[in-house]
Symmetry: C2
């Protein structure tokens, strides 16, 4: 790690100001609602033009750290972590490999969330889940038709975890899941069959254990796992 040349700053002015501003937030331990100095004040204090300050402030705003309003100035906000991520998570821009990886993450989450489900699930949740699957078609023939049930059922599971961050994350990834399933990234599995059903999962959630649920969900998602295995060559 020894560097002969002193690492010259390849950073642009905006980068530096951005860092300064973030440091400002930390040092002063500013809380939500607090306001930071005006653009012109910052510009003169930091010795740069208002242009640079504005660009740096815009970055903070994109990160969800601040919210700027006319006259009022910029105020600290509780950052919506994934809020800004949504735009860059566009399936048309992401590479196929990345899309596959995101799809994998979904499987990981749903298999792993069993404990959260069991520690938060209520009778009302069970009732809702049963309502969702009540009219679900038994056969796996109408895949397209089934999609809405899939989303409703699995979405409800995320909601049961009472983990807002996780729920937001899922909402973010949903269009990607949809895209991946419909796209030709994955070769279809011949002779797709049903494994553990939604109804069975509900029964486990109602009367079983997290361990059983994990295995049930793993089995339920077997078709997806199989597609991943079949399409491993791509990497």
């Amino acid at each position: 790690m020894k560097e002969v040349f002193k690492s010259i700053d390849t950073q642009s002015l905006v980068d530096k100001v951005e860092d300064s501003l973030i440091n400002l937030l930390h040092e002063r331990k500013l809380k939500v609602g607090d306001s930071i100095p005006k653009e012109l004040e910052l510009a003169s204090a930091l010795g740069v033009s208002r242009t640079v300050v504005r660009e740096a402030l815009m970055r903070l705003r994109m990160m969800g750290l601040i919210d700027t309003r006319k006259k009022k100035g910029a105020v600290i906000t509780s950052p919506d972590i994934f809020g800004n991520l949504a735009k860059s998570l566009n399936p048309y821009i992401l590479s196929d490999d990345t899309l596959k990886e995101i799809f994998e993450i979904r499987l990981v989450l749903e298999v792993g969330m069993a404990d959260l489900l069991f520690s938060h699930v209520t009778d009302g949740d069970i009732k809702e889940l049963k309502e969702i699957v009540k009219n679900e078609p038994l056969s796996a023939k109408h895949r397209m038709f089934e999609a809405s049930y899939e989303i409703a059922f699995h979405g409800k599971l995320y909601q049961i975890t009472k983990n807002e961050t996780l729920k937001k994350f899922q909402g973010l990834l949903l269009p990607i899941f949809d895209f991946v399933e419909k796209s030709s990234i994955f070769k279809p599995i011949p002779g797709t069959q049903k494994f553990t059903s939604h109804k069975q999962l509900i029964t486990i959630l109602e009367k079983g254990t997290p361990e059983e649920f994990r295995n049930g969900m793993r089995n339920h998602l077997e078709n997806h796992f199989a597609r991943l295995r079949l399409n491993k060559g791509g990497k």
Copy 2:
């Protein structure tokens, strides 16, 4: 959903230009490496000032959609989804509830990633894991000292999944895990005890099944789960 007033655009000019640019990317199906028009060209084409175009371009850059270089202009890049998220994921700014939720997500991921591990793990990986835990202290007394082993071991697991997106996500969350463990957000658990050890997990990964690994990992993380249960009142 009926609206009496036609929804006036509360968007700023920059917002609109941003949308226009993203649409441009989609419509033209631009690939990585392709370049987009110069700032001045965009400005005149869209009928706004260069300032506005620049701010919009900066947003795209923050999203990781483009990379701008002098003289060359802006070129499409393969977006690093989580790269730009890092700065806003600052523990000092996130609320305690959000921090807890992120911590939960870690647990979910590690319990759920068993299948990915088994489908990618190599002999070399097993060897590396064994190397990591070789000098690991047996007792749980030196918690601070143990931290580095924890990070090395669990980090290696993420790496074994061969899922770059997941690995990046973990790298992103790591400072948060660290912060949460050290902070007083969680009350400590009296009489913390060891459950499934790292060594046992390796053995399962080498000779066992995904199902066994999930349960082993769940058990291994029991202390963390217990802390979550104990601190549930906060919400």
